[in-house]
Amino acid sequence: MDLNFTEEQKAFRAEVRGFLQEKLPQRLSDKVRLGQRLTKEDYEEWHAILNEKGWLAGNWPKEHGGAGWNAVERHIFEEETTAASAPRIVPFGLAMLGPVLQKFGSKEQQQYWLPRILDGSDWWCQGYSEPGAGSDLASVKTTAERDGDHYVVNGQKTWTTLGQYANMIFCLVRTSKEGKPQEGISFLLIDMDDPGITVRPIVLIDGEPEVNEVFFDNVRVPASNLVGEENKGWTYAKYLLTHERTNIAGVGFANAGLANLKRIAKLEQSGGRPLIEDPLFAAQIAEVEIALMAMATTNLRVVSAAAAGQAPGAESSMLKVKGTVIRQEINALTKVAVGPYAMPFVSETLEAGTNEGPVGPDYAMAATPHYLNNRKLSIYGGSNEVQKTIIAKAILEL
């Protein structure tokens, strides 16, 4: 047992930190810090900076243009970028599709699509969820029928995050109704500009059109866009979900959120003294900090085992549950901390560069939207209820 990082790991951390100091645009980190909205261009700018350094795809092997980091290095990179308020890396192409193509895609698909993910030619989105399916992903109803060298796709996807920015979508589609629901699913790459595709934004309770519905009406997709074999898509989907689970705990986000909360609690006054000196509020911050200290170590245990080649089991479900609960608690405390200025709901103030300044202190404007938006953390990616059932079954063997 040793809680210390190796000298190599410390050197890597210093390198990342130096890079961020030099290359992360202040304009972007300011937006992230204040919780303002990032535009498509903001993300693309940051992706390009990372790609230039070869750090955009930390989890990809070097042969595909990735950094080839192990789990500990990825963890360090994550810690440093969140601490520096760097924009997050949009995961759909890099964390989700990339690994699937590398494992199951044809040589041609790899050579064509992977570089386009890195250089920003394509913005991918995810076509997994369907209306009414909830956590039961295998109940795919969107169909793809073979017609010559095309598939004809009909159906609907939903909860498609940032679909409004995407020009490509990877989809689970049903190519057969035989056998178990898992058996007739295929994995298809679809151009969002194809005729027959409609994107409809879903406004969430924080006022954000972050997710979308995507409708497919006789969309013709070249058969060459099928990944792997027909009807084997469920295997690839599960592989993708496993990859999505890395950094499921969100320790970096939690740390950044906690630091922000403490900063606010020092600035806000209550009873003529800084809020952080209120013993009951300070105790609530302390409770979540203590939980986070432990969770971060659980995360390191999993990361360290992953770096040593072990596949995480129900631990990632535990991290998902605890990680989301902690982040949501930090969001809730932040909303309380900013006091009455959590009430104003002026969407424009969250756009940087508009004339609409914040109503109260700038740190207050995103508190309520973030609190509301992050209720999703315990719902998506396999709801916390699904995770608990997994934990019970795996560990209790129930």
Partner: protein, 374 residues
């Protein structure tokens, strides 16, 4: 001891529930987004004379007791009505308590319906302390000149008359030296920024830069307004908690319906025992909240210390339960509960903002401890 509504209150409740069930339409809500209230619903409430229930007969109303407030505001919350009735209670209550005969006319107008009121009291650094007022009024000729800033004044831009609290002597944190003025809409020297609120409705930042008010704008005695503000805020807190109770009832009804109809893995999700038990927990806590609201409403007319102990006990408990209900209702719905299109969202937001007015759950827990120790 009796926990039945009187016949009159039962009629009021039934009438309100029926009316609001019809009137709070998506269109009415849409209208309220830009203007801060729904002109149609507001007119309807005026026609029903609902504001009369907030005031005693002496004040020109037909109610005014704690359980009258509970009856009205539980229904407003249940419907998620976007109209500033709470501000009528708050500002109107102060005017009724302190106003001169001519100022009292406003209360009558409020009861008759239609007049919009606001109470400009909060300041950027006052948080939830009633006495931490820095805005100053100084004598200027025959009248007064006001300087300072009021923050998150609910309905501030819409109100025909705004009750403004100021300091005429003393320092922030002192109870002595706080005074009140009655300011008509459009008074010069007041800069107003109007904006929407998460829970619905609008509020305003109000900057006073030498705004001048006549001598007869003073409400009550110079420097002695604290008690009236505390009393009015106690009543408004009871009303707000009743509002939250109503919103919780709707959230639980929506959740119950969803659990019964939504199917997953081949059966209604309400058949899953884990969700059943969590729904039961939610119900148990809502019952606690209802009792807490009853406790506060039943002690609004008690002596100050008893009343304030119940203010803090109830605001703490209802605040905790509101968070639980909002979060659990969303969670049990899953993704659909996160969408603006579905009805739950606005109730969840309304509940989420309960903490932000008159003190959050933790703040009131600390206050309860201090009041008990005193």
């Amino acid at each position: 001891m009796n926990f039945q509504l009187t016949e009159e209150r039962q009629m009021l409740q039934d009438g309100l529930r029926r009316y609001l069930g019809d009137a709070v339409t998506p269109e009415a809500l849409k209208a309220a987004e830009s203007t801060g209230f729904s002109p149609e619903v507001w007119a309807g409430l005026s026609e029903m004379g609902v504001a009369g229930a907030l005031f005693t007969e002496e004040q020109g109303g037909f109610g005014g007791l704690g359980f009258d407030l509970m009856t009205v505001f539980e229904e407003l919350g249940r419907a998620g009505a976007p109209d500033p009735m709470l501000e009528v209670l708050l500002a109107g209550g102060i005017i009724a308590a302190l106003g001169s005969e001519s100022q009292q006319a406003l209360v009558e107008q409020a009861v008759e319906g239609g007049v919009q009121l606001a109470f400009a009291h909060n300041e950027p650094s006052s948080r939830y302390d009633i006495d931490r007022i820095e805005t100053r009024a100084e004598r200027s000729g025959e009248g007064w000149s006001l300087t300072g800033r009021k923050s998150v004044v609910v309905n501030g831009a819409q109100a025909d008359h705004v009750v403004v609290s100021v300091r005429t002597s003393g320092a922030p944190g002192e109870r002595e030296g706080i005074s009140l003025f009655l300011m008509p809409k459009g008074t010069d020297g007041v800069e107003i920024r109007d904006y929407p609120l998460s829970q619905g409705g609008h509020a305003a930042e109000m900057v006073f830069d030498g705004a001048t008010l006549p001598a007869d704008a003073l409400l009550g005695e110079d420097g002695a307004a604290y008690d009236a503000i505390e009393t009015a805020q106690a009543r408004a807190t009871a009303a707000l908690c009743a509002d939250a109770l109503g919103a919780m009832e709707t959230a639980r009804a929506l959740t119950g319906d969803y659990l019964k109809t939504r199917k997953q893995f081949g059966q209604p999700i309400g058949k899953f025992q884990a969700l059943q038990h969590r729904a039961a927990d939610m119900l148990i806590e809502i019952e606690q909240a209802r009792s807490a609201v009853i406790n506060l409403c039943g002690h609004l007319e008690a002596d100050r210390d008893t009343r304030e102990i119940h203010v803090s006990a109830t605001k703490h408990l209802v605040g905790k339960v509101a968070r639980l209900v909002a979060e659990e209702a969303i969670q049990m719905h899953g993704g659909i509960g996160m969408t603006e299109e579905y009805e739950l969202g606005r109730f969840a937001r309304r509940l989420s903002m309960l903490d932000q007015r008159f003190g959050d759950a933790t703040w009131h827990l600390g206050r309860f401890v201090r009041l008990r120790a005193a």
